[in-house]
Amino acid sequence: MKDVVIIGAGAVGSFIARSLSKFKLDVMVLEKENDVGNVTSMSNSAIAHSGYDPVPGTKKAYFNVRGNKMMSQVCEELDVPFEMVGSMTVATEESQLKLLDELNERSALNGVEARILSPEEVKKLEPNINPEVKGALLCPTAGVVNPFLLTCNAMENACDNGVELSLTTEVKGIKRVGDHFVIDTNKGEIESKVVINAAGLYSDEIAKMIEPIEWKINPRKGEYYVLDHYAKGLVNHVLFPLPSEKGKGILVTMTTSGNYLVGPSSEWVDDKDDVSTDTLTLRNVKSQATTLVPSIPFNQQIRVFSGCRATPSTHDFIIEPSKKYDTFINVAGIESPGLVSSPAIGEYVANELVGKVLKLVEKEDYSPRVRKHIRPLELSVEDRNALIKEHPSFGRMVCQCEKVSLGEIEDILSRSVPINTVVAVKKRTRAGFGKCQGGFCQPVVINLLAEHQKVDPTKVLYSKDGSEIVKCKVNKGGN
């Protein structure tokens, strides 16, 4: 019998697991994907929003602002790249200045530092901005964060503190039996006193396994461009247009890796797993983005991608026990600003909601830190030489575009969250993230994974099940 089972290992599930791992509880996380943070937590704007935008008094406003305040410490503990670069919400027409003032007032109500900039101030801070700029709202506490490591390392930290993670485990049904729940999965039944539903896009389906619900998760797709980091100095902040009912609009932002993101679109889709991209949608993203920054060098484009937001029909985060059971907790509809909110949601769910139904006793040996990542290029020549002398693999570059060494990949493979795919390596190390998109390094990564998993290279997955990259050995069953 588990004390707590968390369904879903996205950013939210991972931070709930981390917060629960402080206590003497038997916690298990079930994830249907073969890696943590593989759906919405992988495909988003990678932004730690300041909290100027959500309607005051909502859960979105509360958890966003609280999460933003936690972000520096969390990223320090979890060794995740985070830069508080600030955001600018940019008015390009006179008529928008009124809305800018309203947002400024909303910031004050949410307790978020903000101020209105004159067109001259904006141009000075952002030389590539549309010269027609009429003003902007600067929020200095907004930041950019590496969303892959934020989620992976929250879960790694939870696992290091004793949480059990079960990947490729899909929940088929949940029954109430006596004073606990029985969770039916593709890998057998699991009993638990408390269940936390952090199943993202599928959280309504999970919630329905227990009782009828009045809310629904509607997948809302966003498509993006990724530009290479060679377009240095394109923008220095997270740049938003004025928000509309469709969300925060098409943004142009830097990332912690120096790349730039342009997007997302906002499209209602039927299929929760639809992460396809579309030429017309992306063309529209491009034309909207160029009203903010006219000179975006799209010839530096290295990838397009899309992700689905788990948009709730209630317009606010759903973070509460189910109607029937205070031991079945729904954490659903965590769309933007979900990434930045997740540490605060984790803390609240553990301390307040689980704390209400289970006794929380702190572990003596809990550590909030993950093992530090070794990033050779950030070290001095002397330190790098000492490192390579001890561990020569840090001297061998596997990914030439992003300068990722063999040692960094070996380090990732040796951590507590299992690594099953080429994308899992890519998310954590950036190998294959650059301009050649793995053209040169992918065979090396495949061989490393094959060796690590003790399987033939033809069994190594790119990402999802069935995504084997090489089909067969030449002349052995070729046809």
Binding site: G395, R396, C401, K403, C436, V470, K473, G478
Partner: protein, 418 residues
């Protein structure tokens, strides 16, 4: 810090030939830096023949061609390091490299030749619509998997782009038992060499769809199907022309891009080829830093690469032996009507030799045209071309007397015969 006269970045065809050119011109203190565990670069995965017809007057495979140059390097005892990556270059020519044995090494060079080759445009760069499953792979990567690692990337294949590597892979995959269902080309013409069209597609009855592109990739884990559509003259897909192919693999052969970031990081001026802007001595905008081979502009034949690289090696040697030039006068060389790029992109008229080679590509296939060489607005030479195509690099030599008085610009332009 180590001191070396000439550091060559890249031990492929360009780097090896450049080292030979420099060595034979009197520079002995050379270091070639190669990222792979072997010399020869991409030639090692090109196991088909057709290399060396002009360089060696015989038809060789890629590895054979490479081994001829490796031998030239070994015979001269030119030093090289393998499994080694250059992480940065400074304007003062400090080259930092790293490998397992030596750790991090800083080398003070007197001259540098950039010969780092190119990389392939991929699905991300053109944003192919649809899903992003496994099985969408560049032609060179498919070649690497097949020829160096011994793995087939798929059994039912469609190819986007008629670049040479794609055509060669159409044949190679067919010979290994895969079914290649077709090749789609966005342009109204093929972008491969004619001999590859014949030997790799027509001989195997593989259909070529000109003015077509992939408009959807379908598949969650692995590619399950692709959809192609015809495009109009502005290259927009035409609704209603969609055709679906059930394949497990989409191979992309959509172009090569100079791998020039070590130089662009330095602020070196970039030319229209996306490689460095160089003068006729292959010298970049930073004195003593040279560039040649596919990192400068993408070549059609390796024979031209080694020719160019040897010359770049000789130039670097001259620079090292003669020291800083007292005077130079760079005149821009611009592509005119119908021309994609020209190398060199500037001409130092004070250091002209008897002949200067201009290399360029046209933008689209044309018949019965003149190529005009225009100095300061005056056409100094015209050549007639019954046929000219983008997939073949043009090389034309102009004598010193036509160039030495240039003051403003040199333009190469295409003009239809009236």
């Amino acid at each position: 810090m180590k001191n070396v006269d000439l550091v060559i970045i890249g031990g492929g065809s360009a780097g090896l030939a450049a080292s030979v050119g420099a060595f034979d011109s009197g520079i002995k203190d050379i270091l070639i830096i190669e990222r792979n565990p072997f010399l020869g670069g991409i030639l090692n995965q090109c196991i088909h023949n057709g290399f060396g017809l002009s360089e060696f007057k015989e038809e060789l495979t890629g590895p054979e061609f490479a081994s001829r140059f490796e031998k030239q390097v070994e015979d001269r005892k030119i030093p090289y390091v393998l499994n080694t990556t250059v992480t940065s270059i400074t304007k003062d020519k400090v080259v930092t490299y790293t490998n397992e044995k030596e750790g991090v090494v800083e080398v003070q060079a007197k001259a540098i030749i950039m010969a780092a080759g190119c990389y392939e445009r991929n699905a991300g760069a053109i944003g192919i619509p649809g899903d992003r499953p496994a099985g969408v792979i560049t032609a060179g990567q498919a070649q690497l998997f097949l020829n160096e690692y011994g793995y087939m990337v798929g059994k039912k294949v469609f190819i986007l782009g008629s670049g040479d590597i794609g055509l060669i892979m159409a044949r190679r995959l067919t010979l290994e038992g895969a079914k290649v269902l077709g090749v789609a080309e966005l342009c109204a013409w093929s972008n491969g060499l004619n001999r590859n069209m014949v030997q790799c597609l027509y001989d195997y009855d593989i259909p070529l769809y000109l003015s077509h592109t992939v408009t959807r990739v379908i598949g969650k884990g692995r590619v399950e199907a692709i959809e192609i559509s015809q495009v109009d003259e502005r290259m927009n897909p035409i609704h209603g022309t969609e055709k679906r192919f059930d394949v497990d693999t989409l191979v992309l052969s959509i172009g090569l891009v100079p791998n020039n970031n070590l130089l662009t990081d330095l602020g070196v001026e970039v030319g229209r080829s996306r490689g460095a802007a160089v003068n006729q001595n292959y010298e970049t905008s930073i004195e003593g830093i040279f560039s040649c081979g596919n990192v400068l502009h993408v070549h059609d034949l390796v024979d031209y690469v080694v020719d160019e690289a040897r010359e770049a090696g000789r130039s670097a040697a001259r620079y090292l032996l003669e020291g800083k030039k007292e005077t130079s006068k760079n005149i821009p060389v611009n592509p005119g009507e119908g021309i994609g790029y020209v190398v060199p992109s500037k001409l130092d008229v004070l250091s002209l030799k008897e002949k200067t080679a201009f290399k360029f590509r046209v933008r689209k296939p044309s018949k019965n045209v003149f190529i005009d060489y225009i100095v300061d607005g005056v056409t100094v030479k015209s050549t007639f071309k019954p046929v000219i195509i983008p997939s073949e690099m043009e090389v034309f030599n102009l004598p010193k007397n036509l160039l030495e008085n240039a003051q403003q610009s040199i333009v190469i332009s295409m003009r239809a015969k009236e």
